[in-house]
């Protein structure tokens, strides 16, 4: 176990003030530079694949589409196509990536060439063939054959991002064709309903058991919502939008159930990340605390301390966007799904340690799937918070005291008394 010292750790409050990288995660340009220097380092390490030295590409799209965010509301949209045929679903279905290595994931993503077509996100009534086909592809059930023609050869660099999956090479799109396309019946029903709110469409599809990734894909091409208000949503925003909408809905369901009876710890560990999910027998509350080791993505080596950052919500939820970003909402959805399935209520604190082997951001699916995975395992049950924390101290590297110091919910549970504590006598 690590010594609990300020030489080793930097707490949430001062992390917020001093470490731009962990707040920005390559997305907000907080350092003022035009490109994130941390990500650029990785770009240079990634080699361009010569397999795409051509103006056209023929392959089976998983299905997969991309909606960019740069230049919003004029953004790049288009299909993502690999140079291979067959069932390529795994290339864009993070729900199946839990047991894959970082290399597997990079390999999947690097095969997908992004076709780019610039359009306005509002242009949905008569957007032209490319946007129409992209939308249909986004709603497809299975892999579909795509023939794409580019105006330039694909140029490759790996695009990394904290929210979305890594992205491979891209090329400006001249046109494309799709064969063997079968549109998902349930998604099509939501698409054809011009009075159904986008929010309600997302909630209904999630209730029908459609993977979040598929809902998000259709959401990104503007397939849902009241007709006149439909628009395309950049891929990375749509991921968090879907996590947030579904999580919020389920949270209200969770609040109607009785609380669990014990303190529980669930566990998962992948890609050199350790996850401990602590559930406590009280009304709904939720907190995510991340600890980034030196030399992990968002904690460059010059800062040699472990950075901790937390975000939380009480019974009423929160009104501002979490500093942690999309991970917060992805993990919350996983927690709500599990509680709804059990028909119980609890307050949940998720502790995440990102160890130095976590060298590349792979997307928020990593958070969602690991928390889901943890909650599928059998849990350790305790009758007091103290014994639960003692158990955590044996399995996590960071001392419990340090977690408590950075946790609103743990401090509240340990120190805040309830009125019934004073009821007797």
């Amino acid at each position: 176990m690590l010594p609990d010292s300020d030489l080793v750790f930097q707490d949430s409050k001062s992390v917020r003030k001093s470490s731009l990288c962990i707040l920005c995660k390559g997305s907000r340009k907080l350092c003022g530079k035009s490109r994130c220097p941390l990500l650029v380092k990785y770009y240079h390490r990634s080699k361009v694949m010569p397999l795409l030295d051509r103006f056209n590409l023929d392959g089976s799209s998983p299905p997969s589409v991309f909606v960019g965010r740069l230049g919003y509301p004029k953004v790049y949209v288009g299909p993502m196509v690999p140079p291979i045929h067959g069932n390529t679903e795994i290339l864009d279905l993070p729900e199946k990536w839990l047991n894959k290595s970082i290399d597997d994931i990079i390999n999947y993503r690097f095969q997908l060439v992004r076709g780019m077509h610039r359009t306005s996100v509002h242009e949905l009534e008569n957007p032209g063939r490319i946007v129409d086909l992209t939308r249909e592809l986004a709603m497809a059930t299975y892999s579909a054959d795509v023939e794409a023609e580019f105006t330039k050869k694909p140029s490759g660099r790996l695009v990394l991002d904290d929210s979305s999956q890594p992205m491979g090479p891209s090329a400006p799109l001249k046109g494309f064709d799709v064969d063997n396309l079968k549109i998902d019946r349930r998604i099509d029903r939501a698409y054809s309903d011009h009075d159904l709110l986008a929010k309600d469409a997302v909630i209904e599809l999630h209730q029908q058991g459609i993977p979040v990734t598929k809902i998000q894909r259709a959401f990104s091409v503007g397939a849902f919502g009241v007709r006149k208000r439909r628009k395309m949503v950049p891929t990375r925003w749509s991921i968090t939008a879907v996590d947030d909408i579904t999580g919020k809905e389920l949270r209200e369901v969770v609040k109607t159930f009785g609380t669990i009876d014990d303190y529980r710890i669930y566990w998962s560990s992948r890609l050199d990340n350790r996850w401990a999910v602590l559930m406590m027998p009280t009304n709904w509350r939720y907190e995510l605390i991340e600890a980034w080791y030196p030399e992990t993505v968002w904690n460059p080596a010059k800062n040699s301390r472990i950075l901790l950052i937390n975000d939380w919500e009480g019974y009423e939820g929160r009104t501002t966007y979490a500093d942690i970003g999309g991970c917060y909402y992805a993990a919350r959805l996983a927690v709500c799904e599990s509680l709804v399935a059990e028909r119980r209520q609890a307050s949940t604190v998720i502790l995440r340690e990102a160890h130095p082997g976590y060298i590349l951001p792979v997307g928020v699916w990593n958070v969602r799937e690991n928390v889901r995975n943890a909650l599928r395992q059998t849990y350790e049950s305790f009758d007091s918070l103290r014994s639960a924390l003692f158990y955590i101290s044996k399995r996590m590297a960071i001392p419990v005291k340090r977690w408590i110091r950075n946790s609103h919910l743990l401090k509240d549970r340990l120190y805040q008394r309830r009125l019934e504590d004073f009821a007797a006598g």
Partner: protein
């Protein structure tokens, strides 16, 4: 039966007090006025509010309960200016509250009160009683908010203190005995409280000149103040934080 008319600011104060702790509340009505008892979802704080019928312009009611969604109530209040009269009538047949402001009528569905029991206040023996000007407390809270998320209330025979300790900074409000409205204190007491709750409670006392607090050591605080031109009374109870390792 329930039918009443009141100035919008009177109702606004009542709603502000209730919504510090809950979104939905059960109003207990009888011929003398209305009262509300509620506890927040985390069971950290409790409120007991009563407003006499003379706070209203007109008032008549039989014994009954009414479950009200505070957000809906606020929507109606937003339509009114200070001094506007809001009228309320209970529609028994449809279980709705009919509220009118000027030429607008809102028919408001009521909330089922079956799940809302009246919380029982714990019987506390709080040795110290101190009355402070509300403005002083508000100022102290404003100073503490950026420093910490909790606040210590300390009382000694010499006066009242409120301190807030952050990681690096601290804030201290010190009121010697002669700046207090009243002080009944034989021993020094100290309790720590969550600032967000305490702050919301003090802010709800927007028209009260002074706030009376009953304190002990590592014990809940009981706060009392008046609303609606002293025709209404609010009692809050707030549980302490106890920071032991």
């Amino acid at each position: 039966m329930f039918s009443a008319k009141a100035k919008s600011e009177v109702l606004r104060e009542v709603v502000d007090v209730i919504s510090t702790l809950v979104d939905e509340a059960k109003l207990n009505l009888n011929k003398d006025g209305l009262s509300v008892k509620a506890v927040d979802p985390a069971h950290v704080a409790m409120l007991d509010l009563s407003v006499g019928k003379d706070a209203f312009e007109e008032y008549s009611a039989d014994d009954q309960e009414m479950g009200v969604d505070m957000d809906k109530f606020k929507e109606v209040l937003k339509l009114a200016k200070a001094g506007d009269i809001i009228s309320m009538d209970y529609d028994e047949e449809k279980n709705r509250l009919i509220m009118s402001v000027g030429n607008i009528t809102r028919r408001m569905a009521l909330v089922d009160t079956a799940g809302m029991s009246d919380p029982k206040a714990p019987n506390l023996n709080l040795p110290v009683k101190v009355t402070v000007r509300a403005e002083e407390l508000r100022q102290g809270i404003r100073a503490s908010e950026s420093v910490s998320d909790h606040v210590a209330l300390i009382c000694s025979p010499d006066g009242f203190e409120m301190t807030s300790e952050g990681d690096t900074d601290s804030v201290n409000l010190k009121l010697p005995k002669d700046l207090l409205e009243s002080l009944d204190c034989k021993e020094t007491v100290r309790s720590l409280f969550p600032l967000d709750y305490f702050s919301n409670m003090v802010k709800a006392a927007s028209s009260a000149g002074s706030i009376t607090m009953f304190l002990g050591t590592d014990y809940p605080v009981k706060m009392e103040f008046t609303i609606s031109d002293e025709k209404g009374e609010v009692h809050y109870l707030l549980a302490p934080r106890i920071e032991s390792e």
